[in-house]
């Protein structure tokens, strides 16, 4: 009857706490908690590390959804653009390589705009609005452009810098990822045309 004491008045056994067993039990729980917290912390760190190590969005994957608020206040949701080829260009006014392709992108947009099944979108990355507007005016950019608020869009596409351009097909699947500037108008057209000719 170790651990039990007979109550003289009631003649019933009363449990007596074994201090050593109680301490061991507490130590056991403490260890479990400490290991659990350590594992949880490692899991969080591993997830963060994995995310930072991931490269750009893979061609063939579904293009990450986003909503772009243009400098004119219009809201454009990628989900609403199904059935169209969408060319998403990340740029900034302080980015010199962006200037190399700015005229070609605008020329391509003007070439496809009458068709109605191709849309160009400019995502202005880590920029200030007056400089962004001045840049658009300088290159006479007419397709919709807006700031990447909170850098949410660039993070979703995991861009490494600017310029980067993503060409999305009519089903919302990423078909081309152009890292760095386009070298010519023909290069842009070759990517867009490939998707238009294979459209259902």
């Amino acid at each position: 009857m170790e651990g039990l004491l007979m109550n003289e008045h009631q003649n019933t056994p009363t449990p007596v706490e074994n201090p050593q067993a109680e301490t061991q039990r507490k130590v056991g729980w403490g260890r479990i908690l400490a290991w659990g917290a350590l594992l949880a912390l490692l899991a969080v760190l591993a997830l963060g590390l994995r995310r930072t190590q991931e490269g750009p969005v893979q061609v063939g994957d579904a293009a990450p959804e986003f909503t772009l608020t243009t400098f004119d206040g219009e809201q454009i949701n990628l989900r609403d653009l199904r059935g169209k080829v969408v060319v998403v260009n990340f740029w900034a006014s302080w980015c010199k390589p962006c200037e190399q392709e700015a005229a070609d992108l605008e020329a391509a947009w003007r070439y496809y705009q009458p068709r109605g099944d191709v849309l160009f979108l400019g995502v202005n990355y880590v920029d200030t609005e007056p400089e962004a507007r001045a840049y658009m005016q300088k290159f006479d950019i007419t397709y919709p452009n807006g700031a990447d608020l909170g850098t949410r869009i660039s993070q979703a596409y995991r861009i490494r810098g600017v310029p980067e351009t993503y060409v999305i097909d009519q089903e919302g699947v990423l078909r081309y990822a152009q890292i760095g500037p386009y070298s010519s108008l023909a290069q842009i057209q070759s990517q867009v045309d490939a998707l238009l000719t294979t459209s259902p």
Partner: protein, 168 residues
């Protein structure tokens, strides 16, 4: 007809005077830009990091993007914005990662909680380890002393017995 014209002229004059007064008051109410020093700009800039130049505080970053950001801070300060308002604007516009000090929310709490907890836990474990080490060392000393004493007692007893035997 002449009287009516004079009345109209007077009303017109009164209106012109009132409009003039209102316009001058409105002009006076326009906020005048507050002069801003480089130190004031840098005091805020050093609390921000441009995502383009990772790990370089905005006040010492030499890129054009950072220069534009500093110009924006200067403009906002000249409009009378507070430090908190400016930091909040940058966080909303470019994401919370531009802040040198992450906002106390969500997983960011780990940054504030884990290091002190780890430090305290480490200090506690070190303390416990030293305590155990000292206890074990003391126990070893006592055991050794007891063993030595027992050994001495054995020989002493043997000596005494020998002396006693010879004495007899």
């Amino acid at each position: 007809m002449r009287g009516l014209s004079l009345k109209h002229v007077l009303i017109l004059l009164l209106a012109v005077v009132l409009v003039g007064l209102w316009a001058s008051q409105a002009h006076a109410q326009e906020p005048t830009p507050i002069p801003v020093t480089d130190d004031q700009v840098n005091a805020i800039a050093k609390q921000l990091y441009c995502p383009v130049c990772e790990n370089v505080p905005l006040d010492v970053c030499g890129t054009q993007a950072c220069a534009q950001w500093r110009a924006l801070i200067r403009e906002q300060l000249s409009k009378g914005w507070t430090e908190e308002q400016i930091k909040q604007y940058f966080a909303e516009q470019y994401g919370a990662r531009v802040l040198a000090e992450p906002p106390r929310q969500g997983l960011n709490w780990l940054v504030y909680i884990v290091p002190p907890v780890a430090l305290l836990l480490g200090a506690y474990l070190l303390f416990r380890g030293l305590q155990n080490w000292r206890r074990l060392a003391q126990e070893e000393t006592v055991a050794l002393a007891e063993a030595e004493s027992a050994e001495e007692d054995k020989y002493l007893k043997q000596l005494e017995e020998e002396l006693k035997r010879r004495g007899d």
